[in-house]
């Protein structure tokens, strides 16, 4: 590496160490830029694909109240995707490229959305556990070193709290309901518990990007730290519902002041990441179909705007 680049990198790191945010026009190492594009776009794609499992239940919500809430939540997810795409675009990648990476499978999204939503209770478990796990990660990211990403996260976190509360409310209603309803809640918790813990990613020792991301303060807590914080915060909520988690090894550890929990099935995790989850193919097909079928709308809107601009010019010429 040339001495010039080296000194730029040193200056960059000293800014990070001094907690000075990096903004779009500031010099940054190429690898910092690439890491952020990968992470922010993956986050954006997760918000967008995340609309599908919940969208599945909009027409079958049990009441108008639940339906309005679910619609608002899914609309928020679209908004979160857009905030994040905008943040990624400040790093010099276009929206078209980002969308293409999603549709060709080059970019990943959170594996959690490759699990199916087979009962209404899943709307509760997702809001409570999946959004709850996402919040743990996102609260940390409000302090990430890249300004536009941090600002998008602040906005998202403000909105995310509603998502978790509405989910827990659904779980409370079911848990207090008939034995069948309570069983529904338990079944849903059983199915979403482990995938939620997997959302934090591989164990620290196996996490490829972690060390550099911590040094650059893109991340400020490790996968395992966040996962532990999530389990600790979720357990009292599980107990309040009178439900159990599908983990015989889960118990309070007085000495550590944390819950211990069993080993995660990493084979399942990697299998879903690599495309073999229950819904990977379905999610991709849905996104590709929507993009293809929406092409004429995007083109027509552009043509219409162009025509209006043209007319305005002609009008001006006539007046002149």
């Amino acid at each position: 590496m040339s001495p010039e680049i080296l000194s730029l990198e040193e200056r960059f790191q000293s800014r990070i160490d001094a907690e000075i945010k990096i903004e779009p026009k500031d010099w940054m190492p190429e690898k910092y830029r690439k890491t952020l594009i990968r992470q922010i776009s993956q986050h954006a794609h997760s918000e967008i694909v995340g609309m599908l499992p919940e969208g599945n239940w909009i027409t079958r919500a049990p009441s108008l109240r639940r339906k309005s809430v679910l619609l608002a939540k899914v609309q928020d997810e679209a908004g979160h995707g857009l905030y994040l795409y905008s943040a990624a675009e400040t790093l010099g990648i276009s929206r078209d490229e980002l969308v293409e990476q999603l549709l060709t499978g080059k970019a990943k999204y959170s594996s959690i959305f490759n699990y199916p939503t087979t009962s209404w209770a899943d709307m509760g478990a997702i809001g409570w556990l999946v959004d709850g796990a996402a919040i743990m990660n996102q609260v940390m990211l409000t302090r990430t070193s890249y300004g536009p990403y941090a600002r998008a996260m602040v906005r998202i976190c403000k909105e995310e709290s509603f998502h978790q509360r509405q989910g827990y409310e659904i779980m409370m209603t079911l848990a207090k309901g008939t034995p069948e309803q309570k069983a529904m809640a338990q079944d849903s918790l059983n199915r979403w518990w482990w995938p939620s813990l997997m959302m934090f990613g591989p164990n620290d020792a196996a996490s490829t990007h972690s060390a550099q991301s911590m040094k650059w303060k893109i991340k400020r807590k490790s996968n395992d730290e966040l996962r532990q914080a999530f389990v600790d915060s979720a357990m009292p909520q599980v107990e309040y519902l009178g439900l159990t988690v599908p983990d015989p090894d889960l118990k309070w550890n007085e000495e550590r002041g944390h819950y211990d929990f069993g080993a995660i099935d990493w084979d399942e995790f990697w299998s879903v990441v690599k495309g073999n989850g229950p819904c990977n193919r379905q999610r991709m097909r849905t996104k590709q179909k929507a993009h293809k079928e929406g092409a004429w709308v995007r083109e027509a809107a552009m043509a219409h705007a162009e025509k209006r601009r043209q007319r305005a010019v002609e009008q001006d010429e006539k007046v002149a």
Binding site: E23, K25, L82, R151, R298, M302, R308
Partner: protein, 94 residues
């Protein structure tokens, strides 16, 4: 992929009367009308604003962060701040 990407717009929102418009983020739209409508849906779903400005991102000119001396002149002129002057306490608020 589309032949032509929708242009990027920067969105500024006045959260309530009496305050400045503040940068909220950006979005894609074919024209200003659509940019304002999309900005409403993307950035004001919870009554965050009473007024929206949009401007095409390409029309924004920005200072260069690499130009280190850009703000130097102001840094050295500490006498522009009221705290530079010692005024006795008995004078009261000034």
């Amino acid at each position: 992929m589309d032949k032509k990407e929708w242009p990027l717009w920067e969105v500024f929102i006045r959260s309530r009367s009496g305050l400045h418009h503040k940068h909220a983020g950006s979005l894609h739209a074919v024209d200003a009308t659509m940019a304002i409508e999309n900005a409403r849906d993307v950035y004001t779903r919870r009554n965050e604003g009473v007024s929206i400005w949009v401007v095409e991102s390409t029309h924004i000119m920005a200072s260069d962060p690499e130009q280190g001396d850009m703000f130097e002149a102001a840094k050295s002129k500490i006498y522009r701040h009221p705290t530079f002057y010692d005024i006795p306490d008995e004078i009261g608020h000034m």
